[in-house]
C-alpha cells in the first residue's frame, strides 16, 4: 500500500522549501544537523540493539530514526539518517566504525596506483539501501515535513580515504595532494562522479532538498579551498537541478562570496560567522542556514530561547533557516533541544 510520493507531492509544512526559494514565511523553518542521533533516548534504544551499519542499511530503521526528531521535537524538516562514508564504502573502501575513535578506513590510499584502480561503482545498485531508506522514510513522514538528503563533499571524503581515520589536521591527506596532485585530483573526480550518481539516486527516491557537507574544507587556506574543494562542489551542485540544495563548508567564511555565486539555494554557516558578515558577503542574495554554537545548547533553557530570538532578529526571518553551526552534541538534554526548536516556533508571537 505504498503511497504515491512523487516529487510533485509537496509536504504540508512548506517553510523549508519556501525559505530555500527565498519566499516569505511566517517564521523561519528550523532543523538541527545530526538531529537524528545520540542525544535522543529513543535513538539510544536502537543503537544498543543494532550496529551502525545495520541502522544505516535497514530501510525500516532508517525511517524510524529519521522521523524520531520530527515526532519528538516538531522540527520543520527531516534529514535522512545515514553517513557520508557510504560513498567510500561503495568505492570498495573498507570502512569500520570503531567504538570511541570514530570511522576507520583500512585500505586507505597511500599510492597513485590505488587511485587508478578505483572503479566508480554502480551507485544505483551499491547504495540501493539508501534509496529504499528514503522511500520508507517518505512513507512514514506521510507528507508532513520535507526530507533532506545529503552527501559529504569530495574533499571531506578524500580526507578519510587517504588519512584512513579522523584527524585534527588531515596532514596525510594534504601531503598526498602536495606530492601527487594529479592523482589527488583524479581521486577527487572519482568521488565526485560517484556523489553525483548518489545525489541523483536520492532525488529519484524523493528527497525534497539536498545538503552537501564539506566538514573539513576549513582546513585549507582560501587558495587551497578554491583549488581542492570548489571545482568538485560546483560539479555536484550543478548536477542537482530538481530540488533545492544547501552547501555547508565548515570554517570557510572566506569563501562565502564565491559560494553564493554557485548553483545553490542556501549556504550553511558555522558560529564564527556573524549574521551581518554573512549577509554582507552574500549581498543578501542567498538563503543562509545556521549558526547556533552547538555548545550553547548547554545553556539554561531560558537563555537558549533568548539567544535564538536574537539570532533570528540578526539574520532576519526570511531567506533564513534556523539550525546549529555544526552537529548537535550527544550530551545535550532533549529539553534543551526542545527549547531551541520552541524558541523558533514562538518567534514573533510574544
Amino acid at each position: 500500500m505504498t503511497k504515491n510520493l512523487s516529487m510533485s507531492n509537496l509536504p504540508e509544512n512548506t517553510r523549508l522549501l519556501k525559505a530555500l526559494k527565498g519566499e516569505e514565511v511566517d517564521r523561519p523553518p528550523v532543523w538541527m544537523m545530526r538531529q537524528a542521533g545520540r542525544y535522543l533516548p529513543e535513538y539510544q534504544v536502537l543503537r544498543s540493539k543494532y550496529t551502525f551499519f545495520e541502522r544505516c542499511e535497514t530501510p525500516e530503521l532508517v525511517a524510524e530514526i529519521t522521523t524520531q526528531p520530527i515526532d519528538r521535537l516538531g522540527v520543520d524538516a527531516a534529514i535522512l539518517f545515514s553517513d557520508i562514508l557510504v560513498i567510500p564504502q561503495a568505492l570498495d573502501f573498507d570502512v569500520t566504525i570503531e567504538k570511541g575513535e570514530g570511522p576507520r578506513i583500512h585500505n586507505n590510499i597511500t599510492s597513485t596506483e590505488q587511485v587508478d584502480n578505483i572503479v566508480v561503482a554502480d551507485i544505483e545498485d551499491r547504495l540501493s539501501y539508501v534509496f529504499e531508506g528514503i522511500k520508507a522514510t517518505l512513507e512514514r513522514l506521510d507528507g508532513k515535513v520535507p526530507l533532506i538528503g545529503f552527501a559529504g563533499a569530495p574533499w571531506t571524503i578524500f580526507c578519510y580515504a587517504v588519512e584512513g581515520r579522523g584527524s585534527k589536521n588531515f596532514a596525510k591527506a594534504k601531503q598526498f595532494c602536495f606530492e601527487h596532485p594529479e592523482a589527488a585530483h583524479k581521486l577527487l573526480q572519482k568521488i565526485t562522479d560517484a556523489t553525483i550518481e548518489y545525489a541523483k539516486g536520492q532525488v529519484n527516491a524523493g528527497v525534497h532538498a539536498f545538503q552537501l557537507f564539506d566538514s573539513w574544507a576549513g582546513l585549507w587556506s582560501p587558495e587551497g579551498f578554491a583549488h581542492w574543494c570548489m571545482p568538485y562542489i560546483k560539479q555536484i551542485l550543478e548536477s542537482i537541478t530538481e530540488v533545492p540544495t544547501i552547501l555547508f563548508a565548515k570554517g570557510c567564511w572566506y569563501a562565502l562570496k564565491d559560494m553564493s555565486l554557485l548553483s545553490c539555494s542556501a549556504l550553511g554557516l558555522d558560529w564564527t560567522v556573524s549574521p551581518e558578515f554573512a549577509r554582507a558577503e552574500t549581498e543578501g542574495k542567498i538563503t543562509l542556514q545556521g549558526n547556533f554554537d552547538p555548545t550553547q545548547l548547554l545553556m539554561p533553557a531560558e537563555q537558549i530561547k533568548k539567544e535564538v530570538n536574537t539570532m533570528i532578529n540578526r539574520f532576519g526571518k526570511d531567506k533564513y533557516i534556523v539550525n546549529l553551526g555544526h552537529g548537535i552534541l550527544p550530551n545535550i538534554s532533549v529539553d534543551h533541544a526542545q527549547a531551541f526548536v520552541d524558541a523558533v516556533k514562538e518567534y514573533g508571537t510574544k
Copy 2:
C-alpha cells in the same frame, strides 16, 4: 662569569624587533612556532633522556633546547622552550603529560567553590625556574638573536583548567561559562593576574619580546570572544610596557580589527586569513605574523620556497614576521624546515 644581559643590550640580529616596531628591514624576520621541538633530532635525544617537566624546569636544558633551532636553522629569533601549562601548575592544578594523549589536569574545576579556593601564587617564586631558564638561554644566545617569551591567554588556560584535558570543542569549559558566569570570570581573572606576574618575571629576566597564545579562542563566536577572551587579553597586553608584544588568537579572523586596536605590537594569523584581508582589517597599521599552513612544510622543498616567496610578496616585506600559521608538526623533516627559513633569507636576492 654571567654576562650583563640587561634589556638595553639589543641583540645583533635586529630584524624581529625592527619589524615589531614597524621599522624598515632588509627582509622580514623568520621564526616558527614550536621551532624548539620534536621535528629536530637533537631535541629527540633530550626527549628520550628527560621527562617533559625535567626539560622545562632545568635551566640548562631550556637553554639548550631553545637555542637548537638557532644553531641548526638560523632563524632570526628564539622562543623560550616551556609550556603554557606552567601557569595552571603554579595555581596548584595537578598537570601531567600523558603519552599520546597530551596534557591532563586531574583536579580540574567542576564547582564554583574550587574557583574561590584558588590562591594566586607567588609567581616569582613558583616559576623561578622559567626565569632562570631565560637567563641561561640569554647567556647561551650571547646576544645573537632576540629571545621571545610567552604565555597562554586566560581563555586557553581556562579550557584546560575546566575540561581537564584537550578537547575538540571544550564543551565542558563553555558549559561552565554558561552555567556559572560569575565564577568563570573570577577564574579567568585569577589566571590573568598570575599571567601578568608571569609576564613581568619574564621581562625582568630579559626576554626581548612576548607572545600571548590564545589557541582555543577560535572556538567562540565573535560575541563569545569579545566577552570571554578580549577583556583578559587586554589587561595582560597593557601590563607589558617594556617589550613589544605579539597576540596570536587562532581562528579569530573576525576580531582582527578589534585586536589591532589593542596595546600590542603585532598580530599572529592562521592560514585561513589571506594577507589582503588581514591588511585591510588592520588598515595596514600593525605588524602581522604568520601564516604558512604547517602542513605545507610537507611539500617538496622547492615548492615550499616558491610558496614562501609568494606569501612575503602578498604581506609585503615590512611590518611582517614570517612564521607558520600554527606550530610546526612533529613529522616535518629538518630539510623542509630549512627550506622555509632559507626562502626568507633568499628573499629579494634572486
